[in-house]
Symmetry: C2
Subunit: 345 residues, 2 copies
């Protein structure tokens, strides 16, 4: 574990205890406190924590080598944890909506014995914790309202992306004519890029005292396409990645996902190929999946991805090279880029 990682992890027990102490002060019965704690540990912990770690990392870059105070490190990491709590809120509910079985190598929360639909309310509680933390630790900061509004807006954006995803690709009603590259782009930018890429950087910018709206716009103009590229990789790896590396066996084809691959295939398919896709996408049988993958091979969707990856690298590097706002630094973005370019997991 790096120092930065350790500093981040050390914040969890402190803030988890703040929540629990508050509950105890309300005299809420003990069984509810125990439930709350179990939900929090099950759902907030266990991920890769990349989003959470990015806040302090970005703040360090923005402060240009000036060392951070202990308080700044704590607060940046707490904002990182707020993203992890936000993600927990999204994932608990996403798993119910997607009828998923496992998450991070354990059963989804709603599938844990005795939980079931109570998980919906547990998701709400995970979201509420964010604003409890912000009030407790940032109320006196002049950027307090900016943080709250940023979390609200990011939450709303993610929900809108989720909505379009859910109604475009319902598992029980396969209709490929609903898919399009434009919808795919809207879904991934709203459902993933805002909260995973823009949010951690924007939080660090607020802590660094950035006020100029143009700086936020410039950051967003790189981080959203970067997040879109990341999600296209995710779609690619689901089908062509090494399950040992990505930690799961992809099921986007079976799940009728509006993924980048199927949209590329649909754009290029002959009427015969389209028929095969219509008849086999979003179905559970091995034979259906093989038929879809054959069309992908015929259309050379893998090759299209490789070209997209090269093009994205060129395009994003050019965008980064033009970053000139005095309160930003190209390093913020190259750090992301290095971490994800040609990733295999």
């Amino acid at each position: 574990m790096t120092d930065a990682h350790k500093e981040f992890m050390d914040v969890f027990p402190v803030v988890a205890e703040e929540l629990l102490a508050h509950l105890r002060s309300l005299n809420i019965p003990q069984n509810a406190i125990e439930w709350f704690e179990r939900s929090m540990r099950h759902n907030v912990l266990g991920g890769k924590m990349n989003r959470g770690l990015t806040v302090a990392e970005t703040l360090r870059i923005l402060k240009r080598g000036q060392s951070l105070t202990e308080e700044e490190i704590f607060k940046a990491n707490l904002l990182g944890w707020c993203i992890e709590w936000l993600q927990a809120f999204f994932l608990v509910s996403d798993d119910i909506m997607d009828n998923s079985k496992t998450r991070r190598g354990q059963p989804c929360w709603y599938r844990v014995d005795g939980v079931n639909m109570v998980a919906i309310n547990d998701a709400f509680i995970l979201e509420s914790a964010i604003y409890f933390f912000l009030k407790k630790h940032f109320k006196k900061d002049e950027y307090y309202v900016d943080l709250i509004e940023l979390f609200h807006e990011t939450t709303y954006q993610t929900e809108l992306g989720q909505l379009l995803d859910l109604i475009t690709a319902p598992e029980d009603d396969v209709d490929l004519s609903k898919f399009s590259i434009q919808k795919h782009s809207f879904i991934v930018i709203y459902k993933t890029a805002y909260y995973s890429f823009y949010l951690p950087v924007a939080l660090a910018m607020h802590m660094a005292g950035v006020k100029d709206e143009a700086a936020f716009k410039q950051a967003e103009s790189i981080l959203l396409p970067l997040g879109e590229y990341f999600q296209v990789q995710d779609d690619y790896l689901d089908c062509y990645g090494n399950p040992a590396l990505i930690g799961k066996i992809g099921t986007d084809i079976e799940d009728n996902k509006c993924s980048w691959l199927i949209n590329q295939a649909l754009a290029k398919a002959t009427p015969e190929q389209r028929k095969v896709l219509d008849e086999n996408y979003g179905r559970r049988d091995e034979a259906n999946v093989i038929a879809v993958k054959e069309v992908f091979t015929e259309i050379n969707v893998e090759g299209l991805f490789k070209a997209y990856e090269e093009d994205s690298y060129t395009r994003l590097s050019a965008l980064i090279a033009k970053v000139d706002h005095p309160l930003l630094s190209q390093d913020v973005f190259t750090t992301f880029m290095k971490r994800i370019y040609k990733r295999t997991k």
Copy 2:
């Protein structure tokens, strides 16, 4: 429809259009906009709107006859609508968690054809609308942060009440030893009283410029017991009310609800009566319900309620008579009291 009611209803189309215009500006595909609008109309409209109407009503009282400007009326009613949106968020998810069939005379949203678990995300979107409205209409007001924090805290309180309710009285695991009068009190205060009674008054107080924490505490000290009394009536009417008046046939006994009646009965039951309750509460058969109601009759739970009602009236009237904060008015509370004392619906 009274003038106040009409003024309130006239705000809905204006603010609904604000949400839709914002969505259109994001270029979110049309099918998502239509879904969003359908969810909003199904879930926000159709209730009695008492909570929503209370904000402007309270503001008028606090302004002591001074007539409100058109802008003040609009903003007070918008805050009222924010409560209705908050309630929609709670009810959509509560119906899923309770496995309910109908709400306000129509199918629950998650049971509408094609909706299903997408309703969870729709509930989130209903919640997000609140903060969209607050930012759009109150950002320049010095009490903007107070409004946001009040909505956050009330939401969290309601979620904690919902949590205790869900784990105390799960439908599929009847265990009356989990019930207690203390838990009942916590559940109803957190799940109902904060958002239905305290929230509308506190919102009006913020608009009226009240800053003194003591005034809010004094209002809360009456509104929470008032809300508790209201919910005890609700529990009573579920069993002993006239279905033609309350608009539904109560099923609290079948649903294993931790209601005031069962808690009174448990507190007074002989071992034999307790056995009957254990064996019959929370079960679907007519015979089970009759057996429970017989024990209620033996214990004279109705009489206990009548005594509680008288006692509540005396106790709450005394509390109201002591309201002396210069920024409050006893009328705020007597209005509530008159509306609910000995209500039959």
